[in-house]
Symmetry: C2
Subunit: 276 residues, 2 copies
């Protein structure tokens, strides 16, 4: 099995869970519910939810215990894409080769669809079966990763970013990309039953992977390399080496987990080395 | 004690808890953290958090157990005001006699400050001390009240509203106003230790109070009576009678709680009969 095959296997499981979690289009307000589903069907890669599940499995936990967090994380990620694309933010008319939500449904509905997806993420987690104290910790971690100190704060810094200082660029990426990925891997481990030491090891794994993943994304988008990208500070080959070094550091956090962490490592390699 | 005095007493307690929950302005991104605080200091009336606390006390619970939900509800309410005021929504330049957040900080920061307040609401609840299963239920209820079926759905219906059908108008108000108020009263009762029957009685109380409160708001704003207001369907005196009838129905839900529910009833009367 390679990382891509593992990802494909998880996509159908996660897609079914998303379908069940999202309100049906037949329920009013129909336009809002259609807008909330616009970026899910067809879905994105579902890398983040697959990382949640692979992290639970890496510590010997059942995938089913981590599935609600996997769904919640993809809802949060998608809300952030919808709001990032708004005219007052990055002003992107397309997303995944289709019209952005604000283009297809109007700006007000796009803001509101994002808001509703964010609220739904926490409803999914709060209604999940399982250990209530663990679910509360996962909810707190997801909220923090989505909040002003991480995801939202990273977007604010990204919008205002100017300069070419590599450390400042990585700080934006740590907030905007890596914090949510660390919440995936730490939260997956937590719901999989890991002790605190392993949760922290998988959190470090997620943070490093998140930065490496963002560098890989920027390398794929190198022709539109403006804004906050490591390519403003480093030539492409050096940026690629930095991503590989981070991937290697991330993998070293999983060594004591042995074979159970193999899908997680394969996913990480696929995420950083993919060439779409 | 009257409802206004009870409300003033709660405001300082809630204000202190909000101050502790919101990230300090000294922490980056400073502009985002300033925007998140813009509508809190000076604060609004804090009616919703006071209803949470009065509901916990009405069932014999300690106010302290309900305080995290009180804070979370005010964070959700304030996020919704910031997004409702955006140019693509109601396009209001002022709020509580001061510049709206998008006027003071720009549109992108206003969207993001609202997003961050919504996430913070769930972080506050998830980190609260107390009974984890009850906190999860309160979190699920708040998320549902904030989501596409209630608060956000109500705003979508409000933006598109045309007509003068009283039942359709009350449906919008049930979603946009009453659902969050019902989450306050039901959630306060839940965290106060009430059994399911009393939680449901206080949920009905909140739903009826929420509609009555919205009618009272529309009567105070009667000079700008366009959009979705019961004044499009009824003359002012009939609307006032409808609010009074709902208030009376709401109060009847609290009768078996006796004197412990007295502050809750006083708050409800103050909310519906205030003349600012």
């Amino acid at each position: 099995m390679d990382g891509r095959a593992y990802l494909l296997e998880q996509q159908s499981r996660i897609g079914a869970a998303l379908e069940a979690a999202l309100p049906p289009v037949s329920e009013p307000p129909e336009a809002l519910h259609r807008a909330m589903r616009h970026l899910f069907f067809p879905a994105g890669k579902c890398l983040r939810p697959a990382l949640v599940i692979a992290s639970a499995e890496a510590v010997g936990g059942a995938a089913s215990r981590a599935l609600p967090l996997a769904v919640a994380v993809e809802l949060v990620h998608t809300y952030s894409l919808i709001h990032d694309d708004l005219p007052c933010m990055d002003d992107d008319a397309t997303r995944r080769g289709r019209p952005a939500v604000h283009v297809a449904f109007g700006e007000a509905t796009a803001v509101l669809a994002g808001d509703a997806l964010l609220a739904l993420a926490f409803e999914v987690l709060a209604r999940a079966p399982g250990d209530a104290p663990l679910l509360l910790v996962a909810s707190a971690e997801l909220a923090r990763a989505a909040g002003s100190r991480e995801l939202v704060g990273g977007q604010v810094l990204d919008l205002a970013f100017a300069g070419s200082d590599a450390a400042a660029i990585e700080d934006v990426h740590a907030r905007k990309s890596a914090a949510l990925i660390a919440a995936c891997t730490a939260g997956g481990a937590l719901l999989g039953g890991a002790d605190a030491r392993r949760v922290e090891a998988l959190r470090r794994f997620g943070r490093k992977l998140g930065i490496a993943f963002q560098i890989a994304d920027d390398l794929l988008d190198a022709d539109q390399a403006d804004g906050c990208t490591l390519l403003a500070a480093l030539p492409p080959e050096a940026a690629r080496q930095r991503a590989e070094a981070l991937l290697c550091e991330a993998e070293s956090e999983t060594l004591e987990l042995g074979e159970a962490a193999s899908p997680l490592r394969l996913l990480a390699r696929y995420a950083v080395r993919r060439a779409e």
